[in-house]
Symmetry: C2
Subunit: 154 residues, 2 copies
């Protein structure tokens, strides 16, 4: 099932045919604004201590859902990595042997959903200013939750 | 926009009209097997130390994507809370004032995606035995990733 004719696949990478249809639908509930317009410019990992402040713009429809969010200093942000292909099951990170997609946090995965923990710096209405993201400017937001994870770095 | 005629809404809870269409599609990539057939029986929070072993059954299509996953003792599991309504923006947890959906980890949210950290006990092909889940038996799986979060409890 390797797509050897696909020039975007590196040696050792494997694609599978995707299912004919999806099983559930996701609403984009806002947009994330970051300083990084291309994937190559994104940092490898967000930095909640020293990274730049980024902006989460939640759609007005969901304003009431933000009630009380400012009581949580750390939030889990789920977002949709809209530029990533979804059919690779083995990937070859730079300088690595091929490895399974579920053993990586690569954006390339069947459901390109990322999870990041951020520090909430300020909320103003539907605008959240946060620190700790590493995603593309314009990334669609799909969820916000209080972080459950105690003392973890991110 | 409060749906005062909806008997499933508690006092103080608010619903909004959902958007006319979803923006992206999710594939269910497997199923989660747990001892809990109803929401009332699910524990409030998974326990990676003392919780029961649960089973994640990944669809055969994604077998190669599991390559190397057993090198990660802790995994992040994303799953779809398929029984939850999606239109509440304020919720009233038992014994609490109404609070915004994004200030809660309730299953009820615009995109009912849960994130749990589990300990991987054993892998056999597409079957993972893990500890730390708290979801319904039969819950659809949508992603597996190495846990990034250091020493957090869950």
């Amino acid at each position: 099932m390797t797509e050897q004719s696909d020039p975007s696949i590196r040696p050792g990478e494997t694609a599978v045919p995707l299912p004919d249809r999806t099983d559930a639908g996701v609403y984009f509930i806002g947009r994330i604004r970051t300083p990084w317009p291309t994937r190559g410019e994104c940092p490898r990992r967000g930095d909640t201590a020293n990274g730049p402040i980024c902006t989460i713009e939640v759609d007005e429809r969901w304003l009431d859902a933000l009630t009380g969010i400012e009581t949580h200093p750390r939030l889990q942000v789920l977002y949709w990595m809209h530029e990533a292909r979804r059919d690779l099951v083995r990937q070859t990170p730079r300088g690595s042997e091929p490895i399974g997609t579920f053993a990586l946090r690569s954006p390339v995965r069947p459901n390109p959903i990322a999870s990041s923990v951020v520090v909430l710096v300020e909320r103003s209405g539907v605008i959240l200013r946060v620190r700790g993201l590493d995603c593309l400017d314009g990334t669609p937001l799909i969820d916000l939750k209080p972080d459950r994870g105690g003392t973890a770095a991110a």
